[in-house]
């Protein structure tokens, strides 16, 4: 039974949380990769855009809760997601009209776009804090667990337990659906193909009669959908706090670059690699290893490579290593 206990323990404390975290990152990284291939710049406002979209969802959730609307056992926030998407799409399109469109018209260099998005990031961040404050908001309701550690232990009779939270299961399922729909859209629909064509060869796309403004609009709307989903799922899982969302910028970028910028599949793979690396390196392996080690060889230390506070250092290291040794990423994307 010892290997089984080790497996359950590692699943409970690392694999399941990392899978959920990776799914949240993947949705965000997909947005980064799409914006990079269509608008051709690194969107630094990504984390804070995710925050403001989530703030809209929280607003909607509070409104619905006050009116007694509930879809128990599922969280009410799911009902507010469409509202959040609408708000965020409007916000992103307004930003595009006010800021980015001018730079497209004057054919500004990518670096200027990046700096503009940095400005958008600060403004967005300010707006979010104005409405939400800087503290943490929890908006998870409904049934918290699909099964708890105790239920699992009683059911299996193992020493170790495994819990599955509703938000984790929901994250994995919703992310999977969103990815399948996105791939279907990009590969099967006319609008999706025109986006790929525009990303492949801008001049030829123009010659073929593809309207770049339309492609850009679709890209922002898809980004809004992905970010609201990612932000809501992350918030249900770990609580909403504007600063944490800003910090997600690093792992999301690391995921997109590791997978290969411009490659949607790469963004997903990269996101899971980043998530598992962050969790794996900051995980205390003592308990798991004590099940696997032979009698008398059990580890006496925590067997933790880095404290949890350093998880962004792991991501940063991944980013640096990728940029040094394989700047195109796993799936041969573009180089920044």
């Amino acid at each position: 039974m010892e290997p089984l206990n080790a497996l359950v323990s590692v699943s409970n404390f690392m694999l399941v949380p990392a899978l959920a975290y990776g799914s949240q990152l993947a949705l965000g990284a997909l947005g980064i990769t799409l914006i990079f291939s269509i608008l051709r710049f690194a969107h630094f406002a990504h984390g804070d855009t995710m925050a403001i979209g989530t703030a809209a969802v929280i607003g909607g959730t509070v409104f619905l809760q006050a009116r007694g609307v509930s879809i128990d056992p599922l969280p009410t926030a799911l009902l507010a997601v469409p509202f959040g998407i609408l708000v965020l799409a409007a916000y992103l399109l307004a930003t595009d009209r006010l800021v980015y469109r001018y730079y497209r018209r004057v054919k500004a260099k990518p670096m200027i776009f990046v700096m503009a998005s940095l400005g958008v990031m600060f403004v967005t961040n300010g707006i979010t804090r104005l409405f939400m404050g800087t503290g943490e908001s929890r908006f998870e309701d409904g049934q918290r667990f699909i099964f708890t550690v105790r239920e699992f232990r009683e059911f299996t009779g193992l020493a170790e337990g495994l819990a599955l939270r509703t938000s984790q299961a929901l994250t994995i399922i919703v992310a999977l659906i969103a990815m399948v729909v996105l791939f279907w859209f990009l590969n099967r629909t006319r609008a999706g193909k025109s986006m790929r064509a525009y990303s492949d060869n801008e001049d030829l796309a123009l010659l073929s009669g593809i309207n770049p403004e339309r492609v850009v609009t679709i890209t922002w709307v898809i980004t809004a959908i992905l970010l609201v989903l990612a932000g809501t799922l992350y918030g249900l899982d770990k609580g909403f706090r504007p600063f944490n969302y800003f910090q997600l910028l690093l792992p999301m970028f690391a995921a997109a670059i590791l997978g290969g910028l411009g490659s949607p599949l790469g963004a997903i793979v990269g996101a899971y690699v980043v998530a598992f690396a962050e969790m794996g390196i900051t995980f205390a392996w003592r308990r798991v290893l004590s099940y696997l080690a032979p009698e008398g060889m059990e580890p006496s230390t925590m067997m933790q490579l880095l404290p949890v506070d350093y998880k962004f250092a792991v991501t940063f290291a991944i980013l640096v290593i990728v940029l040094l040794f394989r700047p195109t990423g796993i799936f041969k994307g573009k180089v920044i």
């Binding site: 030829l204 010659l207 073929s208």
Partner: protein, 236 residues
């Protein structure tokens, strides 16, 4: 003499700054092949781009079927029935051959399957490779994709900028054969070519440009026979 189907008449202009074209005239009639040849830097590609509206003319006109289209953008000219195959990056490399053709027909709202079938008949190899990414094909096959993409709008004029650049002589002959076939269906062909002798061989009309001006204009056969042209531009 009747007005040719497409004419860039006495075109003068450049990419801002000094003029590259000086009162240069290029014309092609229905179902004909017109070839622009000349030494490096003679403004061959520029002349073609001017006809397609990719640079601003200071003087002169472009007329298609008698209509003045000088002020139209390249995209608007595509809608009017002009197809253009650029010299480089003329395909969508990460998309499949079939998707390349679909994107070529983006402005069409009607059923495109028949046109696609015609292109697969013209270039049978593309049918075999239709699910493959266009960027993975050989140089000659990529050129076929590029030409096929431009044909998807059912253009009346097809403009090719050095279609045989960088392909082997065998593939070049093959491409020229296909171009003749396209012209036989009534589509006018205007192309710029580096391989002057072979191109003039299939040309109804040849334009020899030097420094942005028309130097010699005649039928392809007459230019090939002209001792001056042979000596200066065809290597004897």
């Amino acid at each position: 003499m009747a007005e040719p189907f497409l004419i860039g008449d006495a075109m003068t202009g450049g990419y801002g700054g000094a003029d590259i074209l000086h009162s240069c005239t290029i014309a092609v009639d229905k179902g004909e092949i017109a070839v622009i040849v000349g030494p490096n830097g003679a403004g061959k590609s520029t002349a073609m781009k001017a006809v397609f509206g990719m640079l601003k003319l200071r003087e002169g006109q472009v007329r298609l079927a008698g209509e003045d289209i000088t002020a139209l953008s390249p995209q608007a000219r595509v809608a009017k029935g002009m197809g253009f195959v650029p010299q480089t990056s003329n395909i969508f490399p990460s998309m499949s051959v079939e998707e390349n053709l679909e994107m070529g027909a983006f402005i069409r709202a009607d059923d495109i399957s028949e046109t696609m079938e015609q292109i697969y008949e013209l270039f049978p190899i593309l049918r075999d490779k239709r699910r493959q990414a266009a960027g993975e094909l050989s140089g000659g096959q990529r050129q076929q994709v590029a030409v096929g993409r431009a044909l998807m709008t059912k253009p009346t004029v097809l403009m090719l900028d050095e279609p045989t650049a960088g392909v082997s002589p065998i593939v070049m002959d093959e491409l020229f054969d296909r171009i003749i076939e396209i012209a036989r269906t009534g589509i006018s062909i205007l192309m710029v070519e580096q391989n002057a002798r072979q191109a003039l061989n299939i040309a109804d009309k040849g334009y020899v440009l030097v420094q942005g001006e028309n130097r010699y204009t005649d039928t392809g056969a007459a230019l090939l026979a002209d001792p001056d042209v042979r000596k200066s531009f065809l290597g004897g």
